[in-house]
């Protein structure tokens, strides 16, 4: 049932042009994040100096508090785990030409449904048996929330950006109602503790991670990344999804049911975000708590953007944003941790604005290079045709 992954270039490219297109694709992918990091450092310097501290000392503290000790690194891994899920969720939507801004509530709904299941399951159930049930429950919770805007778009043409934003408020209010009216432990905003199916912490295997929240959900995150890559680039439905993302009219003409693809993509996207809820509910606290998503859903957009909507890039970008989040806590003694919120926003702004610029620049350079090659009598391959097209939904 697998179809060829990428529509092959029109003609067989020469080795030289293939090498060149690979290089320009690497440049296209790496330049914007580099520009963004540079800009973030500059803005960071300004903020740090405004607080009367030395940038060098703050950045050193940021790195020491994250990658240089096991606890900090564990926290980075924990935060990155959730971000991988929400990043994948947004990226899968983008590949279908859809903007799922609802990961925040899909994440919460996934965690909530998983917690409901956990409270209902008998305490003695073996973890290995419970885990698939939990994954299914979380995927169902997030997927259901994602499917609604997908359906509304396919059936009524309602724009998914607005419906997902609005649904965020509706779903979070609904969950708050259930928790505060029926499920909470008095004086708290969380449910009773889940007695079954807790995921082992990384500290159980590597003792130096002791105290950090990193847990085996990270394996699920890696598995999800591989699965999404396989689905997008190695299966027929994934190919259809990308075709719809690139050019819905052409896909429709080619026999793809665009509405069904939208619907499916939003459901899968929501399910991915939902499974991310396990990181907190099953891996860390063992209960559902109101507001646990805490912006991870929105940061997923940034992660997908910097990771260029590719599962591999998303893992790296998730580590970057998790490092910033955790680093904020590490430097809080010198400068307010809110500094990293500003830097995260700067990174998003810089990447989002420089991606179209870099693409245009490289395209111009390539065109000049090709013209030069033809003049020299060399046979230049279809370098432009071989470059990957971005989804029509916009440059992300």
């Amino acid at each position: 049932m697998t179809a060829p992954a990428t529509p092959g270039p029109a003609a067989a490219p020469t080795a030289a042009s293939q090498r060149r297109s690979l290089r320009s694709r690497a440049e296209e992918a790496l330049l914007p994040p580099l520009v963004a990091l540079l800009l973030a450092v500059v803005v960071g310097d300004v903020l740090i100096l405004a607080f009367g501290q030395s940038p060098g000392a703050v950045y050193r503290l940021l790195l020491e508090g994250t990658w240089a000790n096991a606890y900090g690194f564990g926290q980075v891994l924990y935060k990155a785990t959730t971000l991988v899920f929400t990043g994948l969720a947004f990226a899968l939507g983008v590949r279908a030409g859809l903007f799922n801004i609802g990961a925040e509530s899909q994440l919460a709904a996934g965690g909530f449904v998983a917690a409901l299941l956990g409270l209902a399951l008998p305490a003695g159930l073996p973890s290995l048996l419970a885990l698939p049930l939990f994954v299914a429950a979380a995927a169902l919770g997030g997927g259901a929330v994602g499917a609604v805007p997908g359906f509304l778009k396919a059936r009524f043409g309602a724009h998914e950006v607005i419906t997902t934003i609005m649904l965020n408020f509706v779903v979070l209010a609904l969950l708050a109602y259930f928790v505060s009216s029926y499920l909470h432990v008095p004086e708290t905003l969380h449910t009773e503790e889940i007695k079954t199916g807790g995921l082992p912490r990384l500290a159980d295997v590597i003792p130096s991670f002791h105290g950090s929240a990193a847990n085996s959900t990270i394996l699920l995150a890696v598995a999800a990344s591989v699965l999404v890559w396989w689905y997008l680039f190695r299966t027929r439905p994934g190919f259809e999804l990308r075709a719809v993302g690139l050019q819905p009219e052409a896909a429709e003409y080619g026999g793809v049911r665009v509405g069904a693809v939208w619907w499916r993509a939003m459901a899968i996207s929501g399910a991915l975000a939902g499974v991310g809820g396990l990181n907190y509910v099953l891996g860390y606290k063992h209960y559902y708590e109101e507001g646990f998503a805490a912006g991870s859903g929105f940061l997923g957009i940034a992660v997908a953007l910097v990771g260029r909507s590719h599962p591999g890039g998303i893992i790296i970008a998730a580590l970057l944003f998790a490092t910033l989040s955790q680093g904020g806590l590490a430097v809080n003694a010198l400068v307010p941790k809110q500094m990293v919120e500003v830097l995260q926003a700067v990174v998003i702004l810089a990447v989002a604005t420089s991606v179209p610029e870099v693409e245009r620049l490289l395209r111009g350079m390539r065109r000049r290079a090709d013209r030069g090659g033809e003049l020299a009598g060399g046979q230049s391959g279809p370098a432009v045709a071989a470059t990957e097209r971005r989804p029509a939904g916009g440059v992300v």
Partner: protein
């Protein structure tokens, strides 16, 4: 049975919605998605509090509020017009930036992570929240005028015609010599100033800035913009409806007739219903969110 106190409270709540939604209409009619209203409001509230605190005059706060919103709006317009970046992504970054920057500056200016000290506002403390206090607050009058002003601008001036043409068909606008970029910058700046005034109203009304004090009001204003189908007068009515629902919920608190969360949902559910076209079709400006070549 409507008590007068209920009416005054609706007015007090609706003013920031009217400001922000007027900005929302302006922005969306020019083709710029108004996801950023929340950020404009937050920035406006913060700048208003700072200026009012240091100058001792609420009028300085009003001016600073408008400037604070405008600066963020110009950043948004630069990203989406000059750099042709995706409006949704940029918009979310602008909101994150507003949250982060106001928190950081709150720490920097007042060494607090939650709120500013008390700042001068328009109301005299003992007048309370009733009618007397309302009519003595110039921002209330400005807020009531915001929607009619935007309606007049959009439908009765050459600028408004350009805004609408840029939002519906930028290529056609370009072909008759209208600069899409310039119109979008202007509409964005106006939208930022209006939403910033809404934020200034909040800060001056509560006599302080508190972290995240806009609390989703920018998104309610966006909901009103869409639920009112991008038409200023309908949008104003939508704001009134949402504010009445909110007042109702505040009044009912403790009575437990309807859980407060369900009342909170009303604007968002109505907007989704409107977008799905269950009661009439809500068609956005044709070029909304699109990059103009």
């Amino acid at each position: 049975m409507i008590e007068l106190a209920f009416v005054w409270q609706v007015f007090r709540i609706v003013i920031p919605y009217l400001f922000a939604a007027a900005g929302g209409v302006m922005s969306e009619r020019a083709g710029l998605i108004a996801l950023t209203l929340e950020g404009y409001m937050l920035s406006g509230a913060f700048c208003a509090a700072i200026a009012s605190y240091y100058s001792g005059s609420p009028w300085a706060g009003v001016a600073a509020g408008a400037v604070g919103g405008t600066l963020f709006a110009l950043l948004y317009a630069t990203g989406s017009v000059r750099f042709r970046a995706n409006q949704v992504v940029i918009g979310i970054a602008i909101n994150l930036l507003a949250v982060g920057l106001t928190r950081f500056l709150l720490r920097l200016a007042f060494d607090s992570s939650s709120n500013s000290p008390r700042v001068p506002g328009f109301m005299v403390a003992e007048s309370g929240a009733g009618f007397g206090a309302l009519i003595r607050n110039p921002l209330v009058w400005a807020g009531l005028l915001a929607i009619p002003a935007v309606a007049w601008l959009l439908y009765r001036t050459p600028f408004g015609l350009r805004v609408r043409s840029v939002g519906e068909h930028p290529e056609a606008a370009t072909s008759v010599g209208v600069s899409v970029a310039r119109v979008r910058y202007a509409a964005a700046a106006l939208s930022g100033a209006l939403a910033g005034l809404g934020g200034a109203y909040l800060a001056l009304d509560q006599h302080q800035f508190t972290d995240g004090m806009t609390a989703g009001r920018g998104f309610i204003a966006l909901a009103a913009t869409i639920f009112g189908r991008w038409d200023p007068m309908r949008v104003g009515l939508a704001c009134l409806l949402f504010a009445a629902a909110e007042t109702f919920q505040i009044r009912l608190q403790g009575a437990q007739v309807i859980p407060s969360q369900f009342v909170e949902m009303i604007p968002y559910v109505l907007t989704i219903v409107a977008l799905a076209g269950v009661v009439g079709r809500a068609a956005p400006p044709a070029a909304l969110g699109k990059v103009a070549e």
